[in-house]
Symmetry: C2
Subunit: 404 residues, 2 copies
């Protein structure tokens, strides 16, 4: 194949990245790759301990996919070497030592999901126990001699723990070396990771230099903020959307995110072409409600196909909004530009006996607008001409609120 | 064999030690050993990189010999594992990577010398590459997980370097683990080391505990001060006496040490029975000159036999003092209790033209008394009735100085 011009490739590669270290070397590598018609080796390590992928994981997998689409070689490393060891101190229950069989099974579950994003046929899959497993004590000593203790402690999480006198087990210093050795073994040109992986990626760069190789470029992606709008997406925070979640759940959950996540999610986890992103950025700002539906539709279509996405949209509109609300639900209209307190609106509808009851209902989560719970008793709505909302009070009281 | 009473063994074991950690556990081990008629395993590691042994090394070897004489098992570990690696950073020229053949050769040179001190037939010799060489990366990770980074940095030399921002290569943290693993493998009861080895010995103790073994006792010996009277004995300070140095050189060099080293040397590096030590302590204080001759004789006899020691003494007396001095050398007598300046004595002998020339000679090291160079121009001698000294001025001028 012939490669795109370097500048065009860079535009795709830069999408959503936090940092490329160093970018000028990446430019050189891309130039050489195009000139020699030789793809770059793009490395991504994955942990076969917790094989359930969610959209947070997709940030980095999509970046790998973009490299694939640009014609480069994706190398997915199954980190079975450390998974087989688990947490040797036994303190971390989320890191049990896995058997070879469990790892194979987890890896296959992982790949089944990852290939919803990656181009399966163009993905090279390797297991790092193949080379790390045959290293001996003397090899580890030589490897360890390439780095200093001070350099290790520089790593953000290590330095914090060190200063707080929290114990760092000595073996934790060996894991970045193992990851770096993967790069040496594979002669990777680029390694992808989250921002929390920067140090480990740089170790790979140093070890490659020491080995006389041209060092890899480290490309860091941000951590995706989860549906709660504050923490990074994670199963343990219950703010995640699984890659294999069914179309309706996915669609509905995406609609529940806060407005300021709409554009970052477009940029980081959708396949919207880079040229179209500005359009979505504008829509996210000006018309977040519909932009969110676009996002939900796009993501659902990516993982379940266009037909399933359409169905999910219909399902949402019919079931969640329309079906519950009876045809004879009343409509309340307000002037465009008018700001009205929710308490006053509900008082007008007569759905409650008193403001006190309304406040209790709000506190209990019994009031929602467009299926989104309102928890602020002082909430108010500023109406526009095209405002069209569904207000739900308690379990069965619905009405339309419209601007005029 | 039957073991001596524990208290008697302890008296021998405590000789010259700086610290026994913990001593009460050693007592228990000795009791059990005696009760079960089972010798303790005493471990000593040695570095086959620099096989030239001097009296400094003999401190610890003598301690091992004492344990042998008490009926315990001496295990000498040839540290070939790390010697084969050398200094992987290449910065330390004194630690080249050695081939298997070089190590075998060095080890045999080492043993040839060490068995001048140890009871060869009762010494078990092992090479730690036998077990460390087959350890794999995963084993090292498990081993490293037993200790924390903070614990490592506690080690005196590490903490100093860390605070001074001097680089500590990461592999340096692995060596104490390797040494500790030796103890785990051997199930050692006691490990011997210099005071600079305390940390490493304690690591062995911890790893044994972690392995469910009864932990070893750490016994630390002081570092022997060299012939210069200030620094620890070392080839690089040129203040050493080699174990294989010939009898005359050994005898003469011992005579050159300062008086305050006499007793420590008796205690640490001679085979004078522990019961006789107080006698030598007293003599070292009251009659250092003859005590030094005793020490020189004892050490020379230990390494070359009694006959060679006698010959060395004669040789020193005849060659160094008497033979050079012609029969017709003049004698100068001074009253007992009189303090006379060396300058005045030399002026009286007429060996120099002027005090100025005398001072220059002293500065150049051309003046000696009893073969010991005098470098202080203000040196004076207080005569006793039995004072008998040989004064040498320049290359050929001798005279006797006597008290009366």
């Amino acid at each position: 194949m012939s490669f795109l011009p370097v500048e065009e490739q860079l535009e795709v590669i830069r999408r959503g990245t936090v940092e490329i270290v160093p970018e000028e070397e990446l430019v050189e590598k891309l130039k050489k790759s195009k000139k020699d018609n030789q793809p770059l080796k793009i490395k991504l390590g994955c942990d076969p301990t917790r094989p359930d992928l969610h959209l947070g994981h997709s940030v980095i997998l999509r970046k790998l996919r973009q490299f694939q689409d640009l014609g480069h070689e994706a190398i997915l490393i199954i980190g079975d070497f450390t998974a087989m060891i688990g947490d040797p101190t036994g303190q971390n229950e989320t890191r049990p030592a896995l058997s070879e069989e469990e790892i194979k099974e987890n890896a296959s579950t992982y790949l089944e999901q990852a290939t919803k994003i990656l181009d399966e046929e163009k993905t090279t899959i390797v297991y790092n126990s193949d080379w790390l497993g045959s290293m001996q004590f003397q090899d580890v000593i030589k490897l360890a001699s390439k780095l200093t203790v001070a350099r290790m402690i520089e790593r953000d999480d290590f330095s914090k723990r060190f200063e707080a006198n929290e114990p760092i087990s000595l073996h934790e210093f060996l894991y970045p070396l193992a990851q770096g050795q993967d790069s040496v073994h594979l002669h990777s040109d680029v390694e992808l990771g989250g921002t929390d992986q920067k140090f480990n990626l740089l170790v790979g760069r140093e070890l490659q230099k020491d080995d006389g190789q041209e060092p890899q470029i480290c490309l860091m992606m941000p951590l995706l903020v989860g549906t709660d709008g504050t923490k990074k997406m994670s199963k343990s925070y219950d703010n995640y959307i699984g890659i294999t979640e069914d179309a309706n759940d996915m669609y509905g959950k995406v609609l529940s995110i806060s407005d300021d996540l709409i554009y970052p999610w477009f940029e980081l986890i959708t396949d919207i072409p880079v040229d179209d992103l500005p359009k979505y950025k504008e829509k996210a700002e000006k018309d977040p409600r519909n932009a969110k539906h676009d996002l939900a539709f796009t993501l659902t279509a990516m993982y379940h196909g266009g037909a399933a996405a359409k169905e999910a949209r219909n399902h949402f509109e019919q079931t969640v909004i329309n079906k519950e609300i009876s045809d004879d639900a009343p409509t309340y209209e307000y002037d465009a530009g008018e700001e009205v307190r929710l308490l006053d609106i509900i008082a007008e509808t007569g759905f409650t006996e008193s403001n006190g009851q309304t406040k209790r209902l709000i506190k209990q989560g019994g009031v929602s607008i467009d299926d989104k719970k309102i928890t602020d008793k002082g909430y108010s709505i500023t109406f526009e001409e095209d405002t069209e909302l569904v207000l739900k009070v308690g379990k069965r009281n619905f009405c339309y609120l419209k601007g005029k």
